[in-house]
């Protein structure tokens, strides 16, 4: 297994863990945590491909990841703000109880 493949495997594993957690945990904050993990797994993928892929001098991978981090951070902020607002409204962060969109 070449270094690229091992990096990709790690990233795949991270992604799956993040997905499993997002699907399994009951607290909405932990769902967000899972999403962050998935994003990070994607970032790792990008860096790995920049490192072992063609034209690393274009710095495309790095810049992509920089932007991705920025956006992920913004999204995390907004998401957590949303969770706070929801918590204030319904006094819960349990995803099972937040089913007002049912039907």
């Amino acid at each position: 297994m070449n270094p690229l493949a091992s990096c990709l495997m790690v990233s795949a594993l991270l992604f799956s863990v993040g997905l499993g957690g997002a699907l399994t945990r009951r607290s909405s904050i932990l769902v967000l945590v899972g999403i962050e993990l998935m994003l990070n797994a994607a970032n790792l993928n990008f860096i790995a491909f920049w490192r072992y892929g063609p034209h690393p001098e274009a710095l495309t991978g790095i810049l992509f990841v920089i932007f991705a981090i920025a956006i992920a951070a913004a999204e995390a902020a907004v998401g957590l703000a949303l969770i706070l607002a929801i918590y204030r409204h319904s006094k819960t962060t349990d995803v099972n109880r937040l089913d007002a969109m049912k039907g």
Partner: protein, 687 residues
């Protein structure tokens, strides 16, 4: 066309119009009803007299035909005609009718249904006059039926009395039986001759060509068509004119008010049958080889039998009107005998004279009943000669005329009949029957007069009943009738006495008039062909009858009401049988009525079980089909539909589980979709 012939239809139309107007009047508008009836009847009388005057100068038949109904390409025509026969009937009906109308004003004064009475009377007059002027057998039949209807209405005028209602029904049904024969004759006539018009420019069914054809045509049993039709028509005439065996309704018809009995059941309606035979006489008389036709023979025999039969029964009756009723039946028999043996003139002469003296007798009887406050049993009358003189004199005149007392009207007319019977080529038996009948006639009339007018006044032990609204108060208060009732009696008495003179052998004006020839005054005719001997024999018979009657009933005045009849004491068995009208009604009851009853039971059973069963079956089938349909609908259609709906609902429920509002399940679905898409991508690239 002379105006009187063109407007002849007014004669029946005026009284009919009076009836129509009165029908809408209120019961208390009595003066209107009476005035209208009498007024329009007088107009009809004047028109009839004008018609009679016209026929003096123009004895040939004149007629007006008009088309009525079209069926297919043929037009059914109706019409009216004027000839001497028609003219004398018109005058007789209108004159007698008018006198009786006037009489009724007094007689029915206390009846609360006065207006209805005059309505029916006028309708009757219109219909009877229609029968007289009809030129079409169908039109005659239609008016005939209306006459029957009004007879029913008038017999049952006091319909609250069960006897009256039953009598009306009986009259209608019995005459209906006769009318069936008339209708069959009509249809046969139409099928053979193609027309029902009597006179129609040579094409009418009474005109020479048609009659000759029918006389030549031989139907069953060697009977010519003309005789067959004639006999069928005679059935109708026999019903209306009370010939044996259809005479049973006439005595019962006395339940009606006396003016009705006088007008309808003495003078006019019963004469309609005789008139009908006279009208279709050319048909009746036509025979293949000269000599009397079968139809006329039968008519003569039936007439003779009726004359004798009814005279016997009249001897033993107690009700003043019933005696006169049976007398009417007997005299109608004489008229039919006259038609059969002697021809139209002979029969019609007696019809005209009979109309006058019989209606006189009935009105006189009505006067007696009115004066005795409703009593009708002769045993309970008596001594009225002094108490009701005018009635007595006029009644005596009528009675003598009826008996055939020499020189009175009935003498001449009855003698014509007996003379023709004596000369009849077929048999002399009718002559002897007629003579015996004359004897009996004198006898029973004497009996009646002795009981009613002679002897001591006998009163009923119980209170009076019958005659409507006894406004004369206390019984025993016998009084003469008022002027309005007495005057018609007097007028009719004059006719009864003197009318016969228009038909004596010395001056047979009447016969000549009817046959369309001039008759000269010829006293020498008395000497011809055995007339004088016959007249002598007839007179002897009359005197014998009167004498016998006086011997039994007049010698010793009858004192008590309960005393047995003199004749009854002599021959109780025969007398009782005669009093019971020779059990004819009982015979009919046991046979015809019984059969009808059984028939009705059968049909009732059929209706209840057979037809009803069929209907029930159909209903049951339909209900069964409906039930099947309903259960099909409930169990199959509904259930199927419900199940499919449930399936839908369940499917929906299943699908809605996807939308549970939970983010994680949505995410899960996304994950699965992602996997699927990726795999799809790879496999498509690989392939």
């Amino acid at each position: 066309m002379v105006w009187i012939v063109r407007y002849l239809w007014l004669i029946p139309a005026l009284p009919a119009a009076a009836a129509a107007v009165i029908a809408f009047a209120k019961q208390r508008q009595r003066r209107l009803a009476a005035t209208l009836s009498i007024g329009l009847m007088s107009c009809s009388l004047l028109l009839a007299l004008a018609a009679l005057a016209h026929t003096f100068s123009q004895p040939a038949v004149e007629y007006v035909n008009f088309p009525w109904i079209q069926f297919g390409t043929e037009w059914l025509k109706l019409g009216w005609l004027l000839d001497p026969l028609t003219a004398v009937m018109l005058v007789m009906v209108t004159l007698v009718g008018l006198l009786i109308f006037i009489f009724s004003v007094g007689y029915m004064a206390h009846d609360e249904n006065f207006t209805r009475f005059f309505c029916f009377l006028s309708l009757f007059a219109g219909a009877m006059l229609g029968v007289v002027i009809a030129n079409n057998l169908l039109l005659l039949f239609m008016c005939w039926e209306i006459v029957g209807l009004t007879s029913y209405l008038l017999i049952g005028f006091w319909y609250q009395r069960p006897a009256a209602a039953a009598a009306a029904k009986k009259a209608f049904i019995v005459t209906r039986i006769g009318d069936l024969g008339l209708f069959l004759g009509m249809m046969w006539l139409y099928s053979l001759s193609g027309t029902l018009l009597f006179y129609d420019h040579g094409a009418g069914c009474l005109e020479h060509s048609a009659v000759a054809a029918m006389a030549a045509h031989v139907a069953a049993f060697g009977l010519t068509a003309s005789s067959g039709i004639g006999l069928l028509i005679f059935c109708g005439a026999a019903g209306k004119s009370g010939q044996v065996p259809l005479h049973v309704w006439l005595p019962d018809a006395m339940e009606g008010p006396t003016p009705v009995s006088a007008l309808i059941h003495a003078a006019t309606m019963v004469a309609a049958g005789v008139f009908l035979v006279a009208r279709v006489y050319p048909l009746m008389a036509a025979s293949a080889g000269g000599g009397p036709s079968t139809a006329l023979e039968v008519i003569a025999w039936v007439g003779a039998i009726t004359a004798l039969f009814a005279a016997f029964i009249a001897i033993a009756q107690d009700d003043i009107k019933r005696i006169l009723a049976y007398s009417t039946v007997s005299q109608l028999g004489y008229m039919m005998l006259g038609l059969g043996v002697g021809g139209v003139a002979v029969g019609m002469f007696h019809l005209i004279t009979h109309a006058f003296f019989k209606s006189l007798l009935f009105l006189g009887a009505g006067s007696v009943i009115h004066g005795c406050n409703g009593e009708q049993d002769i045993h309970k009358m008596g001594g009225l000669r002094k108490l009701m003189p005018i009635t007595f004199v006029t009644y005596a005149a009528g009675m003598l005329a009826l008996c055939g007392f020499p020189l009175f009207a009935g003498f001449w007319s009855k003698d014509e009949i007996l003379h023709s019977a004596h000369l009849w080529s077929v048999s002399a038996a009718p002559y002897y029957m007629g003579a015996a009948g004359a004897l009996l006639t004198a006898f029973y009339m004497t009996r009646q007069v002795c009981y009613v007018f002679f002897g001591e006044r006998r009163e009923a032990a119980e209170a009076v009943s019958g005659h409507a609204a006894g406004a004369h108060g206390i019984s025993g208060d016998v009084h003469e009738s008022p002027v309005v009732m007495a005057v018609p009696l007097i007028i009719l008495a004059v006719f009864a006495a003197f009318l016969g003179f228009i038909g004596t052998p010395a001056w047979p004006w009447f016969q000549g008039f009817l046959e369309g020839r001039r008759a000269a005054l010829d006293p020498g005719a008395f000497a011809g062909s055995g007339i004088l001997p016959l007249m002598a024999v007839s007179s002897v018979i009359v005197f014998a009858g009167l004498g016998l009657g006086w011997w039994f009933y007049g010698r010793k005045p009858i004192v008590s009401a309960g005393a047995p009849d003199a004749l009854e004491q002599l021959q109780p068995g025969i007398f009782r049988a005669l009093a019971k009208r020779l059990y004819v009604d009982e015979f009919y009851d046991a046979t015809v009525i019984r059969a009808a009853w059984w028939g009705s039971q059968l049909f009732d059973w059929m209706d209840r079980w057979v037809w009803n069963g069929v209907v029930q079956l159909v209903a049951w089938i339909v209900t069964g089909i409906a039930w099947m349909d309903s259960s099909l609908d409930t169990y199959v259609v509904n259930t199927g539909f419900d199940e499919s709906c449930k399936g839908f609902v369940q499917g929906g429920r299943l699908m809605s589980r996807l939308q549970n509002g939970r983010v994680q399940s949505y995410l899960r679905v996304l994950g699965v979709a992602l996997i699927a898409l990726v795999l799809l991508l790879f496999w498509s690239r690989k392939g």
